[in-house]
């Protein structure tokens, strides 16, 4: 096994672990978010609709906590998509064909997923807060607005890598058709 393949193999194992943990987290947080959506007093006509599904203890949850869990769900979903795409990229590296147009597309998709996930996390806080104010629901302490610059930087890096792989694929094709 070459050094390159060894590194790719180790990274694949790490990414597989990240993928499995993220997938479990995504499913758990998704279910909890769904449960909390039913449980949290959301105000307006929704309360009338959801009352049948609630028990007395459900009102312990606040809108802020629901926002926190939803943000965790979004982050876990982002990790699932990113780790699965990175595993596909590593597979092509192990196969010795990293410079293909599909890898450029994969990195572009990673950048898009990070971008939209961060955008959703930014948007959900003011929407939930406005909702709480409009319908007179308690927001609570959690679910504050926070900007994660690392993730935005990650999206930018993924975009740069997409362009590098696109150029690499072009050079690879040119090299293949050089006689």
């Amino acid at each position: 096994m070459t050094k390159k393949n060894k590194v790719a193999g180790i990274l694949s194992v790490i990414l597989l672990i990240v993928f499995i943990i993220s997938l479990i987290t995504m499913l758990v947080t998704g279910l909890v978010a769904l449960f909390m959506f039913i449980a949290v007093p959301v105000g307006g006509f929704f309360d009338g609709l959801l009352d049948g599904f609630r028990s007395d203890s459900d009102s312990d949850y606040t809108m802020g906590e629901f926002v926190e869990i939803t943000m965790a769900f979004i982050t876990a979903t982002m990790f699932v998509v990113v780790s699965s795409r990175l595993m596909e990229v590593l597979r092509t590296i192990s196969a010795g064909t990293p410079f293909e147009a599909e890898n450029a597309d994969r990195f572009k998709r990673i950048a898009k997923v990070i971008f939209f996930a961060e955008l959703a996390k930014l948007a959900i806080v003011p929407i939930a807060f406005l909702w709480a104010v409009l319908f007179g629901v308690e927001y609570g302490d959690g679910g504050g607005l926070s900007i994660d610059l690392t993730n935005w930087l990650g999206a930018a890096v993924a975009l740069v890598l997409a362009e590098v792989f696109r150029e690499g694929a072009r050079l690879q094709e040119e090299q293949e058709f050089t006689v």
Partner: protein, 67 residues
């Protein structure tokens, strides 16, 4: 593409097959085929030199430019 490859005509004139040329110049048949069908994006000077030497011709006999 504006560059035309006339390798098949030269080969016909010399009565040489692509396989024979491939063996003589040390370029694979697949690569010569790419060149012959005009799919090549570039040609190395060393390849051109070897082809010209074996076919006893000038680069202009193999390549031409159409405006």
């Amino acid at each position: 593409m504006a560059i035309n490859v006339k390798l098949d005509r030269i080969l016909l004139e010399r009565g040489m097959s692509l396989t024979e040329l491939s063996e003589r110049v040390g370029v694979t048949i697949a690569n010569l085929s790419i060149l012959k069908t005009g799919k090549a994006k570039a040609i190395r000077f060393s390849t051109l030199e070897a082809i010209c030497k074996e076919l006893d011709c000038q680069p202009g006999d193999i390549l031409s430019f159409d405006d």
